[in-house]
Structures are given as structure tokens and as C-alpha cells.
């Protein structure tokens, strides 16, 4: 790469990276630093002694933290799977509709447009209705409203991502295959889905990372209850930080959530090859 090109790379990438680094560096470093200390806001007379990795060790021994992690993994697996399937169906459908396209797409996108807390409030309102069972009083049943609310909201996001990917696929390929006698399902499997891989990858990465950090939806619907049966890891961290005011321990929890998310992202990236440095156009 010659000098001009490397300068170009700098010119193009540095502004964005500077903004991100500028805003995010201090808070992330601060959290890491806090996680190495014992810091309890309710007892300032204890001070802020350095305790090394004690907080992290405490997390590993904390039963409630493990339960929260389990709940989170369950939530991610369930919602991402359902959203992918429904999102793909919706995207394929929207792709074929020619009349009233704009209106239909807008209608499809509406659930995503409603602020999360508000959408969750609407679902709570519906599930608390006197008709039907008392969902929120049962530890297992309480998951249904949560999954429904999240799928309702996020499917349009997945659909829109996949739709954008669908629109970039050359229709000539599909035409040719159809003329060769391939059925719709086969065309879907062998032509559409492979070409859609980058969009699918983006959808999976973003949705699973988002789902891993779920907070608003569960906070509004169940608050983590009944008991702590639906508490995800970020809600637990929130509880430790803001209710118990144990900043050191809460920061360690946050760092662990972050570390897991990061590892997850790397795994997805490797698996789906989304970051392959494709060197197009040289």
C-alpha cells in the first residue's frame, strides 16, 4: 500500500475512531479500575481498598450471578432463533410485494419504532389483563411475555436488515435458476440464503449481542421476577450498582458481561467470516 493510500485510510477512519475512543475510553477504564477495588457507597469510612481480583472471585461464587447468566443465555438463544425465522419470512414477503410497498414496510417497522420501555408497558398491560392465566406469578410462564415482547419489537429490525440484503441480490440469478427448473424452496436454500449470508451474519451478531445485554424489556415486564426467576445478568449488575451501591462488585460484574460479549462477538466474527479482509478492487 503506497503512502497516498495509507494517508487515505487515516483520513477516512480516524474521525470516527476518535469520537468513539474519546467518549468511551474513560468510562471503560474507570469501570475496570473500580472492579479492582472494594467500593461501597453506603460505607465511605471503609474507603476504597485495592482488592485485586477478589470481586471477580466473588462473582464466580455468587449463585445469583450464575442464575442470571443462565437466564440470559436462554433468552438469547430463544429470541434470536425466533427473530431470524420470522424476520426472514417477513423480509422475503416484503420483497415480493409490489403494490403498497412503502406503506406495508412502514407498518411492518412500527413495533421497532415504539420506544422499548413503552412497548414493554403495552405488553405488560395486555398480559396483565384479567382474561387468561396470571403469567407473571409463575416462574416459567413469566418468560412468555418477555420473549413475545422482544420478538415483537426486534423482528422488524432483522427483517429490514435482511430486506436490504435481499435487494442487493441480482434477480437475474434467481431467474436463471428458475428457468433451469429449480423449485422455490431449493432456490431459497441454494441461491438466496448463501448470498444473504453477510446480512444474516450482521443480524445474528447484532441481535445476539443486544439480547445478551437485555435490560429494558425485562425491567418493565417482570423486574426480574417472580423472585429472581427471569433476572438477566445486566439487571443483576444494575441492582448491585444502583440498589446495593456496591460499585466495586458491580463493576466486576459489568466487566465480565463485557468480556463475555466480546468473546461472543469474536466467535461470531470468526465463524461467519464477516471480518475477512476481502481485498476488492486492487
Amino acid at each position: 500500500m503506497n503512502g497516498n493510500e495509507s494517508r487515505l485510510v487515516w483520513l477516512l477512519t480516524v474521525p470516527a475512531l476518535t469520537v468513539i475512543a474519546g467518549v468511551a475510553t474513560f468510562p471503560i477504564l474507570w469501570t475496570f479500575w473500580e472492579s479492582l477495588h472494594r467500593h461501597d457507597l453506603r460505607m465511605p469510612w471503609i474507603g476504597m481498598p485495592f482488592v485485586g481480583l477478589d470481586n471477580y472471585l466473588e462473582v464466580f461464587a455468587d449463585r445469583r450471578a450464575w442464575s442470571a447468566l443462565l437466564h440470559t443465555v436462554f433468552f438469547v438463544a430463544t429470541t434470536v432463533a425466533i427473530e431470524l425465522v420470522l424476520g426472514l419470512a417477513l423480509a422475503l414477503g416484503l420483497h415480493r410485494v409490489s403494490r403498497g410497498r412503502g406503506l406495508l414496510r412502514t407498518a411492518a417497522l412500527l413495533p421497532w419504532a415504539v420506544p422499548t420501555v413503552v412497548g414493554a408497558l403495552i405488553w405488560r398491560f395486555i398480559f396483565e389483563s384479567p382474561l387468561g392465566p396470571v403469567w407473571f406469578a409463575d416462574a416459567s410462564a413469566a418468560w412468555l411475555p418477555i420473549v413475545v415482547a422482544d420478538v415483537w419489537k426486534a423482528t422488524p429490525f432483522v427483517a429490514l436488515l435482511l430486506l436490504a440484503g435481499l435487494q442487493q441480490i441480482d434477480p437475474a440469478l434467481d431467474e436463471a435458476a428458475s428457468l433451469d427448473g429449480a423449485g422455490a424452496l431449493r432456490r431459497l436454500r441454494e441461491i438466496t440464503l448463501p448470498l444473504l449470508a453477510p446480512a444474516l451474519a450482521a443480524a445474528i451478531v447484532f441481535r445476539s449481542l443486544d439480547a445478551f445485554r437485555v435490560f429494558d424489556v425485562i425491567y418493565v415486564l417482570t423486574g426480574g421476577g417472580p423472585g429472581t426467576a427471569t433476572e438477566p445478568i445486566s439487571l443483576y449488575a444494575f441492582s448491585v450498582l444502583f440498589r446495593e451501591l456496591r460499585i466495586g462488585y458491580g463493576s466486576a460484574l459489568s466487566m465480565l458481561v463485557f468480556a463475555v460479549s466480546f468473546v461472543l462477538a469474536l466467535v461470531w466474527i470468526k465463524l461467519l467470516g464477516a471480518a475477512r479482509a476481502g481485498d476488492v478492487g486492487s
Binding site: 396483565e128 396470571v134 406469578a137 417472580p226 423472585g227 451501591l245
Partner: protein, 436 residues
């Protein structure tokens, strides 16, 4: 829709300038910029906003050149507390005056976020002793009581001759009402939040137990406590006098069930009284009464003491002015006005002997005072938020049948003792000692 090739300089600077201009305009246009401003953060929804506005105006007239500004916070207790924690850890100088929930004072005091009021020598004899005790930490007073809340039993006068005074009578009456077509027997706040602790506290006292005894030991796993929690659980799943939905209900849903005539008995705070009397919205106006919560043999009718108090931000620039505002707002006239307009119970016992208060509240003030006098505070300790969370989780687990009451309370007690031991504190504030 897409803006291309426009760098930060072209978009960001005008945007920042516009924002700054807007902010200074908004901030500056309301009043003389050089006048000292007191910021008050508290409850200001609907009618409360009206009465506060008037009281601030009178205060300003009496204390020129001070002006008082209201800082809006979420009214849900948890969220307001979050914001306070947020601001106070960042050592923000405003708001100067904070409205605190009764259970926050020791925590905020221990963290050094609010000022001790002793240097101002407030006259504490005029307030309910229990409310004053709840605001003490290590022998200093940190907030003045503003209004009190107590848990009460609301009962339908057309469905029963008198309010039940013990739990068995309550069950009988509730079952009777249900058999005659009333949808719910007894409704209370059973969601997993602070309200559940207050309801449990009242049942607990009714069976003769306590969360923490006089010696400072955790007694939430006592036989009385197991009996109380078992009664609550059976009310939902065995006798069926309470609908399973109470386990997701907070104050408002409970109120509406009673207000729509769907419940025979309700446990709620005094705020509901005025709303239930409103004939336009309430189907039970004129057909209900209030009474203390019932008790079993060995226990006594217990009301959880709630309410709000006013404190001074430790980093405030003008503590004397802040104290003047607190003193003004907690004066008898202001309390009476607040009772008349918004229906809140004043924190001064002397007001309950006046006919004015009964008129203002629409209920017999002496009976209300009898309940307040016997109200039981929750543990006064900086650890309360954590202890409450432990209790909430375990109570809710037992109530949703994930665990038996005995086991749940044993786990809760163990966790609470562990938390207290780790903090090196005696659970009671009066004897609160420094950490070793």
C-alpha cells in the same frame, strides 16, 4: 435522508452553538440571573405541583431575593433514588433540597450525601416520634418529616357489618363476599418491590413478629414470620381470597380493583381514600371505611410507617437557605394546605386534633392518628436497600410457590445476617457503630 461528506466541523459546531444558545435562553429568560436560586427535587405530579407552586411563591415573597426552582424527577421511588444516587455521587451542588422516602435517610446519611440538621436546632417535638427516629443516624438528625403514610385496611361497609379485627375473621368475611359474587376477597400489593415488604411487615406484626428485634438481631425466620408468610401465600393459593394477580400488583392496580367494586377488602395507603370518595370515578364512594390491619393472638394491629422527608444536599452552596425552605414547608400551615389539596397525612400530631384536618382529608383524623401512633418503621440502617431486596426476592419466591415459606425465610435471614456482618454494623442506627 442521508447526509454525505459532511464533517464534524460543518455539522457539529452549529449544532453545539444552537444548543448552547437554546440552553442559556431557556435558563436565563425566567428570572433575574443574579438572584440566588434554590433547587427543590421532589414529588410534583398533578395536584402536588399546584400546592408546591403556591408554597414556593409565598416562600419567595418572604425571603427575597431567593427563588425556588423545581427539579422534576421520576415519581416512582426506585427511579428517583437512582437519580439521587447518580447526582450525589457526582457531588452535584443541586438540587439543594431533596425529598427522601423514609427508608433512604440512613443510607444517604451514612454515605455523606446529606447534611446533619442539628446545627440548625430544629424543633423536633412537633413531629411524630417514629418519623423522627427514622431520620436519625448515629445520633444526628438528617431530615425533617414532611408527610406520613400508613398502611390501612379499607373495607366495604355494604358487604360486612364491621372491619375484621383478626385474620380468621378476615378470611371468613372475604370468602363470604366471594360467595356472594364479589370477584376478589382481599387485595394487597404483592409485586416484587418495596410495597411487598410493607404488606409483609403488617402481617408480621399482626402475628407478633418483627424483621429486626430490639436487640438488633434479624428475626425474619421466626415462627411468627413463617405463620405470617404462610397466611399470605395461602390467601392466594389455598383459601383463594386473594387473586393470583396480586403478585404482580402495586398500589394502583389494587386501588382500581377496590374502586371498581371488585374487591371486598383492600390494604393500601391513605392517598387512595380521597380518590375512592370521588363519585365520578369510584363505584364505592360512600360505601367503604378504613380500619387498622387485623392481628392474631400474640400480635397487634400493625401499620407500616411510610412517608417522605426533606433533607439538604451535603454539597449545596446555600445550606442555610435550604434549611429555611425545609422549615417553611414543614410548618403546620403548609402541611395542612398539602393535606387539603393533595390528601397527604401531615407529620405533626397536633394537627390531628383539629377539625380542619378531618375536613381536609375527608376521614376521621383521630382514627388516622391512632393508626400513625402505632405505626412500625422498617429497619433504620444504611443497608436497608440491600436487606429489603433480599427480603423481597425471598418473600416473592415463597408467594409464587417456588419455595416453602420456612425455607425462604431461613435463606432470607441468613443472607441478611451475612450482609450486616460484612458491613460490620449493628442493624439499628441509634447504636450504629463505626466499622472495626
Amino acid at each position: 435522508m442521508t447526509r454525505r461528506g459532511v464533517g464534524l466541523s460543518a455539522v457539529g459546531r452549529p449544532a453545539a452553538a444552537a444548543a448552547l444558545a437554546l440552553l442559556t435562553t431557556v435558563a436565563g429568560c425566567a428570572r433575574d440571573p443574579s438572584a440566588p436560586v434554590l433547587t427543590f427535587s421532589g414529588s410534583a405530579v398533578g395536584l402536588e405541583a399546584d400546592v408546591l407552586g403556591r408554597q414556593f411563591a409565598r416562600f419567595e415573597a418572604n425571603h427575597p431575593p431567593l427563588t425556588v426552582r423545581l427539579r422534576v424527577t421520576p415519581d416512582a421511588a426506585d427511579e428517583r433514588r437512582q437519580l439521587y444516587v447518580h447526582w450525589l455521587t457526582a457531588r452535584a451542588a443541586d438540587p439543594d433540597v431533596l425529598q427522601l422516602d423514609v427508608i433512604w435517610t440512613p443510607e444517604f446519611a451514612a454515605a455523606g450525601w446529606i447534611l446533619a440538621l442539628d446545627p440548625f436546632q430544629p424543633d423536633i417535638t412537633g413531629y411524630f416520634p417514629a418519623a423522627i427516629a427514622a431520620n436519625r443516624w448515629q445520633e444526628h438528625l438528617y431530615a425533617l418529616p414532611w408527610f406520613v403514610d400508613v398502611g390501612m385496611l379499607y373495607w366495604r361497609t355494604d358487604l360486612m357489618p364491621a372491619a375484621p379485627t383478626d385474620f380468621e375473621a378476615l378470611t371468613r368475611v372475604a370468602i363470604g363476599a366471594r360467595s356472594r359474587g364479589v370477584r376478589d376477597g382481599f387485595v394487597w400489593q404483592g409485586a416484587r418491590y418495596e410495597g411487598l415488604v410493607t404488606v409483609f411487615l403488617e402481617h408480621l406484626g399482626g402475628f407478633g413478629g418483627a424483621i429486626i428485634d430490639e436487640a438488633g438481631a434479624v428475626t425474619v425466620d421466626s415462627a411468627a414470620a413463617v405463620a405470617a408468610l404462610t397466611f399470605m401465600r395461602d390467601a392466594v393459593w389455598a383459601t383463594g381470597i386473594a387473586p393470583a394477580t396480586v403478585l404482580t400488583w402495586q398500589e394502583e392496580q389494587v386501588r382500581f380493583a377496590f374502586q371498581n367494586g371488585q374487591a371486598a377488602l383492600m390494604r393500601n395507603w391513605p392517598y387512595a381514600h380521597r380518590l375512592l370518595q370521588d363519585e365520578r370515578a369510584s363505584r364505592v364512594a360512600g360505601r367503604f371505611g378504613v380500619a387498622p390491619m387485623p392481628a392474631a393472638a400474640g400480635g397487634s394491629p400493625t401499620a407500616a410507617l411510610g412517608g417522605s422527608h426533606l433533607a439538604i444536599n451535603a454539597h449545596s452552596d446555600r445550606p442555610e437557605a435550604a434549611y429555611a425552605l425545609i422549615e417553611y414547608l414543614t410548618a403546620p400551615e403548609q402541611m395542612l394546605e398539602r393535606a387539603r389539596v393533595a390528601g397527604y397525612l401531615p407529620a405533626r400530631p397536633s394537627l390531628y386534633d383539629t377539625a380542619e384536618l378531618s375536613e381536609a382529608l375527608g376521614l376521621d383524623a383521630r382514627r388516622a392518628r391512632a393508626i400513625v401512633d402505632r405505626a412500625v418503621p422498617r429497619p433504620v440502617t444504611p443497608l436497608y436497600s440491600q436487606l429489603s431486596e433480599i427480603l423481597q426476592v425471598h418473600l416473592h419466591r415463597a408467594l409464587t410457590r417456588q419455595q416453602e415459606p420456612r425455607g425462604a425465610l431461613a435463606d432470607a435471614a441468613e443472607a441478611m445476617r451475612g450482609a450486616i456482618a460484612r458491613a460490620g454494623l449493628d442493624a439499628r442506627s441509634a447504636e450504629g457503630s463505626e466499622a472495626p
